[in-house]
Amino acid sequence: MLTQFKFIWHQGVLKRYIQKSLSRRNLLKHTRCFSCAPTLNEKKKVIPDLSQFPVENIRNFCIIAHIDHGKSTLADRLLEVTGTISKSDKNEQVLDRLQVERERGITVKAQTATLFYSYNGQSYMLNLIDTPGHVDFNYEVSRSLTACQGVILLVDANQGVQAQTVANFYLAFEADLTIIPVLNKIDLKNAKPEVVMEQMKNIFEIEPKDVLKVSAKLGTGVNELLEAIVERIPPPKADVMKPLRALVFDTYYDQYRGVITDVAVIDGCIKKGDKLQSSNTKKSYQVQDLGIHQVDEILTHCLYAGQVGYVVMNMKNVKEGQIGDTLVHEGSDVQPHPGFKQAKPMVFAGVYPTDQSKYDELRSAIEKLTLNDSSVSIHIDHSPALGQGWRLGFLGLLHMDVFQQRLEQEFSANVIVTAPNVPYKVKIFGAKNIKMYGGEEVTVLNPCLMPEQEIIKEYYEPLVRGTIIAPDDYVGEMTNLCLGRRGVMKEQIYIDSKRIMFTVILPLNEILVDFYDDLKAVTSGYASFDYEDHGYVPSNLVKITYLLNGKEVEELTMINHVTTARTLARRVCLKLKENIPRQLFKISVQAAVGGNIIAREDIPAYRKDVLAKCYGGDITRKTKLLKQQAEGKKKMRAIGNIDVPKDVFITVLKK
């Protein structure tokens, strides 16, 4: 009804449309108040006409930065300066909706916000795609980059270039995006812009004259940055006259509206009521709602080429919403946009419901969560001790932690997460075996499922290429740490007069658990670390199995490099000894590689376990006590004649 309404975009007007109630994901409630333009009727919903923004007036960009370099704060300021949100001291991490993001001060999930900005008498639509700042979420970053033409490379003027800065720079560089280098926190007393610009010159060949200086906290330089966005970043290559192609770059699930897709419209336009078809599944959907994101959703009638927004189209099944899919008009034979490289999980762990009766609930929670986080891979798993569950693949340890925390916070799920492991590969021989495993090369996600040693020709383990940046005072400590983790030093570059950048090839398995903590410890907290996939390499791996009185405990099976197998086996045996309660029979705890026992502990049998007194007045209490123990026994995992409380496995398998 209001499509003809002439709309002037300026500060204050748009706020009118921002719904105060529910956040976009129904996760957190934002109770911010917005001032309203006095000329508009409070009750009327005004729907912005996005046809006002031709392609040349659109800029799609994101901010990439090392963690804590102020990315979310800068996003807050950009939202404020453009009037997308009102100025308030309370604007902190506005785009970080998840509880886990706010608690940890990190961004996990890419978010989008459309800013309207007037410059030189023109109105521009700036689409900011906020990205995660942690190494684990590179996948999110690279996905976001496909919807952008430029990035703001944000570096803390005090901390300088960090490992993540390097990784992010190369992501943007390889994607051939325009990079706007920005120094943040220039207001700080110990900011060293000259030194940092020298680093940027040394590593990225960025000329100091191109670097903008801002204080996201105070707002200094933010206007200049907005101007640079308009001037330096090219508009998207898009054509509104061509048939529709819309790239799905994110999806999320809303329990009332089903799957909501975030799209970048490459060509053509999408209107409410359009029949869209998925290039992947060929299924068709009718557009029910569409619009743009500010802090909340803003309904529009149409999304045009070059624009970024969301589409609701009655997609009920979470599996139908595939990231990387291209939406076209029904019946259209237009070539889909090349999709995304599938996210490659680096870390696998068993995830089980604490209570097996909650299996179905947990399954639905995992399904919903993985829709918003398609980088998680899912395999059904079963453990005799922990019951039915899944083996999930994560991008990294933080990703795994965050996933678990989100399960707990957003779905009240109570889960057991086992110790993580990396995906190994083995080459097997024998035609029969190859047929059985469906190929000569087998990827092993669950150590229990490692083929027998006899049929393995060669083992392979994944490597990472690590980047460490730290002051040169700690070279000795860092080198020792890396060598101790089977690292191979590749390169050392002074990025300024004081700080050094190491490149080191490490087995992924070696950095899984506490590498980063140890690195922080030996460098007094100064080192930053990032890593990227570096392929597989033949390795001398062994499968360690654990036996209780000669019976194998499947869920404890581990794969490890031969050099540290014995140390690990001893540690696990000792942990088992300390945690399995004494029983009627002596328990021998053994670790074996092939047929050889490499570690052993004994748990002596209980020699006395009987209540001293039992007369008439004791019977009720004694019976109750023994019945409780009987109930407890039922919940234990029986291995031969040994009963092992399940929390023992959790304790042993825990990180």
């Binding site: 376990d609 008439g616 019976t623």
Partner: protein, 455 residues
């Protein structure tokens, strides 16, 4: 002395009561019937002393427990229902014990009481006349055969020792004396009010008054107790004790001072292995002196086993009178279901209730068949005779012990490992099994729950 206890040497030539175990255990695997013949020939004949069960397992008989709730002082390890009171209204207590005895006897419909046990608290602090009134009430209301066991728990203080003769006069014929330790420091730590010398003198005097009918309680597993100390102490106990010894491992009960001290690490109890050593050593030493362990904590020689306690372990009816006393009996002449009963614990409240309605039963609930079988397992296995099939079959007519337990891999494992004996005559724990019963029984309860059809 007319003891009322018929001790009989049961010659178990036929099959199972084999304390050696090695020969039976190997043969106890199924199929039962086909192996049975071989089993007979391999069994080593073994004598076991047990008090004859005079088949009072019908519900027209019971034993009576009477609880005296007062103590002169609180022991540091005790969490029993007891009260330290300056002024005990002896007359009112006596009247109430008498009233409740009368009420519950009538309610139970029993025709005969086989034994009476005065426990506490410290019943030796009760007036002899109080004890007498309860005994007389029993005699008045039901059959109480001459010589039937009447036990009184006593502390070996000077005062109580002097009263022993009076207690004998009113009908007590067995005493159980809380010696606990022959180490003065330990007595102090335990909060006992008597000295080592007083204990010895009390036991000796009691031995003269009640020959063959005196028991001593001894606690082991005391802080810093060594095996050597314990040997010496036990030999010293043996030098003056009578024919019955109860040995209790010191157990930490929540809420007691001792519990707090241990938690706060002010003192430390011996570890689990030392406890096992102390206990094993005691079994050995007492055995060398003719004492047989007829229940986990009870040792006797010359047939001095406690008839009253056997009634509990055999699952017979017992009536509990007094504050906080427990009972297990059926009402209406044995026609109704067996009920578990608990009397009101607070003495004043209990007395008021008894005065108002004749008894102070706080809670009573019927026991299911399964619950009774569970109690039979829990209690029966603590004894040397275990659970004879005859007793089991009275409650579980359709499923004998073998059909309930024989197919369980867990049970067979325990049989193979000489922890349990199971055959057509019954189920019982081996000497080693008795030491680790609390690890065995939970498994048996799960097997029972799974297999029993008449819940």
């Amino acid at each position: 002395m007319g003891t009322g206890i018929i001790s009989r040497r049961v010659y178990l030539s036929s099959f199972s009561w084999n304390t050696l175990g090695f020969s039976v255990a190997a043969n106890i695997l199924l199929p039962w019937k086909s192996h049975f013949g071989q089993l007979l020939t391999r069994t080593v004949h073994q004598e076991v002393n047990v008090i004859e069960s005079k088949t009072p397992e019908t519900d027209d008989q019971a034993v009576l427990y009477v609880h005296w709730p007062y103590c002169a002082k609180r022991c540091t390890y005790c969490n029993f229902n007891k009260y330290v009171s300056e002024s005990v209204d002896h007359e009112r207590m006596a009247q109430c014990l008498e009233t409740e005895t009368r009420t519950l006897l009538k309610l139970s419909g029993v025709k005969q009481i086989n034994s009476i046990f005065f426990g506490g608290g410290t019943p030796s602090l009760a007036l002899p006349s109080t004890i007498e009134r309860v005994i007389n009430t029993v005699r008045d209301k039901v059959t109480f055969k001459p010589g039937s066991e009447v036990t009184l728990e006593a502390n070996p203080t000077k005062l109580e020792t002097e009263r022993l003769r009076d207690f004998k006069t009113v009908g007590v014929n067995r005493v159980s004396i809380g010696v606990q330790a022959l180490n003065q420091n330990h007595l102090n730590l335990l909060g006992r009010e008597h000295t080592v010398e007083q204990s010895i003198s009390c036991v000796k005097k009691a031995g003269a008054l009640f020959p063959g009918r005196v028991s001593v309680d001894v606690i082991f597993g005391r802080p810093k107790q060594t095996l050597e100390d314990w040997r010496i102490e036990l030999h010293r106990v043996l030098s003056f004790c009578d024919d019955h010894i109860s040995l209790y491992q010191l157990t930490l009960e929540a809420g007691t001072p001792l519990y707090r001290w241990v938690k706060e690490k002010q003192c430390e109890l011996p570890d689990s292995d030392t406890m096992a050593d102390l206990y094993s050593e005691a079994i050995q030493i007492l055995g060398d002196h003719g004492f047989e362990r007829y229940e986990v904590s009870n040792f006797a020689r010359n047939g001095a086993q406690c008839s009253h306690n056997w009634a509990y372990w055999r699952g017979m009816q017992y009536i509990g009178v007094g504050p906080g006393a427990h009972g297990r009996f059926s009402i209406q002449d044995g026609g109704g279901p067996r009920e578990a009963r608990i009397q009101t614990p607070l003495p004043d409240t209990w007395m008021t209730e008894v005065e108002n309605r004749g008894h102070g039963t706080r809670k009573s609930e019927p026991l299911s068949n399964q619950q009774r079988l569970e109690e039979m397992v829990i209690l029966g296995l603590r004894t040397i005779e275990g659970i004879p099939s005859s007793r089991w079959n009275r409650l579980s007519r359709n499923q004998d012990l073998i059909s309930v337990f024989g197919n369980s891999e867990k049970v067979r494992n325990m049989v193979e490992n000489n922890l349990l004996y199971l055959d057509e005559s019954g189920l019982r724990a081996s000497s080693h099994g008795l030491m680790v019963l609390d690890s065995i029984i939970p498994h048996l309860l799960n097997v029972l729950e799974k297999n029993i059809t008449v819940k």
